[in-house]
Symmetry: C2
Amino acid sequence: RYFHFCKLPGRVMGIRLLRFTSVVIIVLLLVAGALTALLPNIKDDKMPNLRREPKTQSQSALDSFTLIMQTYNRTDLLLKLLNHYQAIPHLHKVIVVWNNIGEKIPEEVWNSLGPHPVPVVFKVQTVNRMRNRLQNFPELETKAVLMMDDDTLVSAHDLAFAFSVWQQFPEHIVGFVPRKHISTPSGIYSYGSFELQNPGFGNGDQYSMVLIGAAFFHSGYLEDFQRQPEAVYALIDETQNCDDIAMNFLVAKHTGKPSGVFVKPVDIRNLEKDTNSGYSGMWHRAEHLLQRSYCVNKLVNIYEGMPLKYSNIMISQFGFPNYANHKSKM
Amino acid sequence: RYFHFCKLPGRVMGIRLLRFTSVVIIVLLLVAGALTALLPNIKDDKMPNLRREPKTQSQSALDSFTLIMQTYNRTDLLLKLLNHYQAIPHLHKVIVVWNNIGEKIPEEVWNSLGPHPVPVVFKVQTVNRMRNRLQNFPELETKAVLMMDDDTLVSAHDLAFAFSVWQQFPEHIVGFVPRKHISTPSGIYSYGSFELQNPGFGNGDQYSMVLIGAAFFHSGYLEDFQRQPEAVYALIDETQNCDDIAMNFLVAKHTGKPSGVFVKPVDIRNLEKDTNSGYSGMWHRAEHLLQRSYCVNKLVNIYEGMPLKYSNIMISQFGFPNYANHKSKM
């Protein structure tokens, strides 16, 4: 029977073989083509990006950040800051949390002055709440969030450096404004800055919080924030304050380490005085700092313990702005 | 039969029961006593240690470091520095690597001026080699090594802070002297400091090495150093230089990250000029820097690649010496 098979006309065999090999070759070419198309874009970091190439979602997610800026009654500052922040390197998108209830978003103005380097999304809120900025926005695509108050200007240099630091410490809040709590013999905590006594661990001062009004943190923490005890939301709503203290508690509890890493800013400015609105920000209220001490103690109750930890690490950029800024007199 | 059992004389049962319960109570008391004795000593970090309690070996291994100081032809500086370093907080022991071949160690002087806060061991060498200090000394009990050149004075404040930083970055060389390599179009590397061109990653400068002549690193790296290619030892012996560059290559290869973390010193001094010996250190040789560039290229050949990575993180101590040293003009 095998002999019989082998004796099929040579020509028929030849054509079948030819077809078969052609099909195989075409399939291989298609596969090779598909593989080439799927290869990741190898970027040379030393070459300036003269034209921003559209990136795949996975590249953007790791290499860029989303700016979340909440705004209330200071649209003039908002627009001034948007002009600055829209051009920061590695920015993926801006989410503006619009706390001006009932007021139209400035979308027409924004669009009429386009095109813009990145998309800006205006999230209209129904109630003017401090914690509106801590929602887990569906528009958020990046791992990193940059959260800024709507009256704070931080230079692009500082932001680019702090973002690179965040990438090395992704589980921490990496930012420009350090604060601390101190313990008192009564067991009651107090909140403040360097005017308060040092916590007493050796030389120098310590910080136990980095405020989120000028900081990078992992977007996963926004997700975590949705799962906190109701009492935390009630506290923030009651005081219209302390959302940042709550975030530091959350992060410290999660990591078991100091929540923040402080990066010393070279150029940080508060633009409050520049607003036409006459509105000058929550921290001018008489009870603001007392409220924050109050919040620290309430949060210790809610979380059944003090999770905040101290750090004295202060990070600056080597050789910038002064190329010899690390020089020591030896 | 059970009834029969129950009818044993009540008095006998009573005495047996009494004995039994007494034994049980005594055993419980002994166990409780043993547990209390085994409880760890809870130290309150806020209280000053007025008398240094003898610690268990495991506590010392993690909480303290060993100073390794190599010395050649500058015994006057050595003794001056030992007076300073013997009192640094968290110091466990000093190992002096005695490169003065054939010369007696100053043990008599040392002992006659005791008692001393920590043990000092003089390791007599047979050949005057730069890499003698990179032996895996059996006297080394701690996880951390502080390596200092015999002409360098770093303040206790700087050392205490840098040690705490090392504890947060134990796989890195945490120290006070940053250096870098740069690449040239020819592919040949050059070694230097901030006078060299920036490597070109954004703003500011970068460093890719932290010199071990004033740094903390993990004692495990001394063990690793014993397992390097022969060509590395030959290079160090040929140049009587570059042991520190080799260590940075080793660490960078091991971690896949920048080998060092730079801590900006507040008070670091070079005491070379103060020596009576007239000997002023290897780095004054005309060919010193050229040798180091040569070493970088040789090591790239030996290790078949450039493992060094750049960093621009500069760490300082928050609130020290100036309690408001982090203040920004907002």
